[in-house]
Symmetry: C2
Subunit: 255 residues, 2 copies
């Protein structure tokens, strides 16, 4: 039995996120159906994590087990011919038997994109949050710096989203290795986060809260209090899903 790793890019606009569910099509649905067809048997595909409805991926990772003897090259080509153009298999590779897309992952990197100019180009509208006014960069950078390291991120977790029965000992504690604001153009802002794990809506609620600091609605002191109080009700709104992109899942070999 082989263990195959897939790296997958997708436009999440028209999907109800990664995970299989009853309400609308999901990325997992499409990928599993294509893998099952090529491997000639019903196959479960495990991803490194879930992405929410409307969130995009530049390089999601996933794995599955198969007895099929199809080569990785043929598998990649076959999957891309079966999948819609919104989902692309960037690579397929054989991994050691103990490889697991989720448990072997050391970290993930997400990027959130914001455009602050007056008019958002229609071509970018599905991949960008439009905030049509100037934001103060320095205080937003100061907030991001506070997030680096190990913290209890309860204030930035979707209410009721953790399954207590599956709760691990870390609770809502996660470690961020990177939390940066990049400004490739004057009106374009990228928030970039690398962490060992992310709670549900964590990036989007951090971004929603930091935008309130950047627009002067809240102060840096308030941001510190929000992080410390571990209460989701204190944080800002959850920024729209279209701005969020899973950039990379990091494993030992590429860390």
């Amino acid at each position: 039995m082989q263990t195959i790793k897939l790296v997958i890019a997708y436009d999440g606009t028209n999907y109800s996120g990664w995970q299989k569910q009853k309400n609308g099509p999901t990325i997992q649905d499409k990928v599993e159906r294509a893998v099952s067809m090529i491997c000639n048997t019903e196959t479960v595909v495990h991803s490194a994590g879930r992405t929410d409805s409307g969130v995009h991926a530049l390089a999601m990772a996933a794995h599955f087990k198969t007895n099929s003897r199809v080569s990785c090259d043929d598998l990649q080509r076959g999957l891309n011919s079966l999948l819609p153009a919104a989902i692309r298999i960037l690579s397929a590779s054989e991994e050691p038997a103990d490889f697991h897309a989720r448990y072997s992952a050391l970290a993930k990197t997400y990027r959130y994109t914001i455009f602050t100019g007056p008019i958002l180009c229609p071509h970018n509208r599905l991949y960008t949050l439009h905030v049509p006014y100037q934001l103060s960069i320095a205080p937003m950078r100061e907030c991001l710096a506070k997030l680096i390291g190990e913290h209890d991120f309860s204030s930035f977790e979707k209410t009721g989203s953790r399954d207590k029965s599956r709760e691990n000992s870390r609770g809502a504690v996660r470690t961020l290795f990177r939390a940066e604001l990049e400004q490739p153009e004057p009106s374009l802002i990228h928030f970039v986060f690398t962490g060992d794990g992310f709670l549900r809506h964590m990036v989007r609620s951090i971004v929603g809260t930091i935008l309130e600091i950047g627009s002067g609605k809240r102060t840096i002191e308030e941001f510190n209090q929000i992080l410390a109080c571990k209460d989701r009700n204190q944080a800002g709104t959850t920024a729209a899903s279209c701005g969020l992109l899973l950039v990379k899942v990091h494993y030992e070999q590429d860390w």
Copy 2:
């Protein structure tokens, strides 16, 4: 009565082209409805030309006449608040009474985008034709050079698309000022055309035919014969609409 010029960007993916019609929503529909609402009376919006179903625009130009006293700034903001995010008014300006988006235009520039790498990024799929193999650049450039100047482009016009009753004396004769191949990255090709006018499907059937030269299916000699024979049946297929973008409409003041 004022004459207002609009410059409009749009993602044509979900529209049946510019011009009003029964089958599906069009850009003109949406813009006219928004203009009529703001100007408080049914208003016809004339564009510099039509774009086909699925074709995009970075800067289409259009005009309308109105007795409304709304300022151009308010008009632009109001239209953008009424229009879907796929259609953006980049500017609204008052023009001399004799300005006409179509008749005052001196030229238009179109760009057609092709990606030749193995996997097209999902984010670019709506704006790019994917040709997943290497193309020979030099012979394609040679064909493009032949198109510059005044020619009868009958071989590259959609069959039966001209309304003979409205026929002007030029028939299918048009002048191209620019016909170039740019390669911003090794796997990315832009065909750029500037001309005093374009027949229906002209850019897309030129591109479809030149791709046959680039892939070695036809020779440069055959391309010359196709242009000379004035017979649409001799040319190649019409390249997909998603790769086509109206970049600019040129007027005297910005020519």
